[in-house]
């Protein structure tokens, strides 16, 4: 049964790589395998299949880490803390990946590596939260205290995320799809008309995109499963003191 997921992942991810990179981009797609041209993006539009899933996993990992943190607080089972910390460790990896991939892409599309666009700010904050989470863990020497306080911190830090996800993008000007921009004629803030920001995926792109999300999510759970099992092994092998 477990093997099924792995083979599914192998096939899905291969399909995503093929589906994301093979289809030619043409101005007026006629065939189902052609992607529409977005002025100013061209081939660079393909980032969506690989960048967005990493950002999604960053958030998912945080939620899982917090979920198991709360479960630890309720049940005081140290294995829950291991699940929590391995979810967060992977979250940190994907957070770095999302930041770096986005930043490299931004250099060639928007002109510089960093713009303080609301979403860039959000991912940066998440990076800081993950960093603070691990800094806190390393400063606590008792296992129970570490589990308890890092769970609490993840909850406290989570409370600020709605401000970044829902409020900031609505109050500030951004470059990501769905953001606001300043109308050059009137100077008023409005929903954007820029092709990059108004970006709407064609149906065939959407299929690949969701396949990609699924594949990355399975990949994440597989890694997570492995890391917390290794932590558990490590813990149990030391138990015979």
């Amino acid at each position: 049964m477990r093997a099924f997921w792995k083979y599914l992942l192998l096939i899905l991810m291969t399909l995503v790589i093929l589906g994301g990179l093979i289809p030619p981009i043409v101005a007026y797609p006629k065939n189902f395998f052609e992607f529409p041209l977005i002025p100013g993006l061209e081939d660079k539009a393909r980032i969506i299949f690989f960048h967005v899933p990493t950002a999604w996993l960053t958030v998912l990992a945080y939620l899982i880490a917090m979920f198991y943190g709360i479960r630890y607080l309720k049940k005081k089972n140290i294995y829950d803390d291991m699940k929590s910390v391995s979810a967060a460790a992977l979250g940190l990896v994907f957070c770095i990946l999302a930041t770096v991939t986005g930043s490299v892409w931004a250099k060639f599309t928007w002109g510089s590596f960093w713009h303080w666009d609301p979403r860039e700010t959000s991912i940066f904050i998440l990076l800081l939260i993950y960093g603070a989470y691990f800094a806190l863990r390393s400063a606590l020497d008792s296992e129970e205290k570490r589990a308890r306080l890092s769970a609490i911190y993840s909850i406290i830090a989570f409370l600020t995320t709605p401000f970044f996800i829902f409020i900031m993008p609505r109050l500030m000007i951004g470059l990501h799809p769905g953001s606001l921009e300043i109308d050059p004629a009137t100077g008023q803030i409005r929903a954007s008309a820029n092709p990059v920001i108004k970006f709407q995926m064609a149906a065939n792109m959407r299929v690949v995109f969701f396949l990609s999300l699924t594949a990355f999510t399975i990949l994440y759970f597989w890694f997570w499963n492995l890391t917390h099992r290794i932590l558990k092994l490590e813990y149990n092998s030391q138990k015979e003191i």
Binding site: K76, S142, E143, E144, Q238, K239, I241
Partner: protein, 214 residues
């Protein structure tokens, strides 16, 4: 008539992976005096802290029952008084100020005369306005006794009650335990055999170390 009861069921405490004690069960009824003993590091202080509600147990339960109603974890501090060597008072205040602050924070209706009375009993009256910082360790121990009985608690938890005390101080503790309310509970954690006289019953924590149930 007050009827306080302490029920401990299957209490277990571990620090990280080290087992402190396991399957600890006992009951103490109003008027009883209990002595807890055990080697150094056997968890006497840990047990006292758990019973005082300031440390969490790993599993099992303990509860104070008062007139057949269970006392909330939040409210345990209202009915216990604790004295121990690791208890540290605010040393930038005098003994009198310490007690007065405690009374205020506890929301007690106690006037200055009552505090002076308690300080006099503890033999600190002459130096009541000196900062605690300038006290000797025995005098600090006496202030702790004063602060433990300030709110007239139902349960007295004493960890190494006679440490740092001179003969006079030990007499004071003897008197205090003897005169402690007859409907209350006293739990004494100690290694000194001379302190065993405080209790009718002795629990040795070394008997609760077995790990065999694994």
């Amino acid at each position: 008539m007050n009827n306080i009861q302490l029920i401990v069921k299957n209490l277990k405490k571990t620090f990280n992976r080290r087992l402190v004690f396991d399957k600890l069960s006992f009951e103490v009824r109003a008027g009883e005096r209990l002595v807890i003993t055990g080697k150094n590091g056997s968890g006497k202080s840990t047990l006292i802290k758990i019973l005082a509600g300031v440390m969490n147990e790993s599993s099992g339960s303990f509860e104070y029952i008062f007139d057949s109603g269970k006392i909330d974890r939040e409210d345990i501090y209202k009915i216990i008084g604790l004295v121990s060597p690791y208890l540290v008072l605010y040393d930038e205040f005098s003994a009198f100020e310490n007690l007065k602050l405690f009374a205020k924070i506890r929301n007690l209706k106690i006037d200055d005369d009552k505090i002076n009375q308690i300080l006099e009993k503890a033999g600190l009256f002459n130096r009541r306005n000196d900062l605690v910082r300038t006290y000797s360790s025995g005098m600090k121990q006496r202030v702790k006794y004063a602060s433990a009985i300030l709110h007239d608690p139902l349960v007295l938890l004493l960890d190494e009650p006679t440490s740092n005390l001179d003969i006079e101080g030990k007499d004071f503790v003897d008197e205090l335990v003897q005169n402690f309310r007859k409907d209350g509970i006293v739990v004494v954690a100690t290694n000194e055999t001379q302190d065993f006289k405080y209790g009718q019953r002795i629990i040795n924590l070394d008997d609760y170390k077995n790990n065999q149930s694994k």
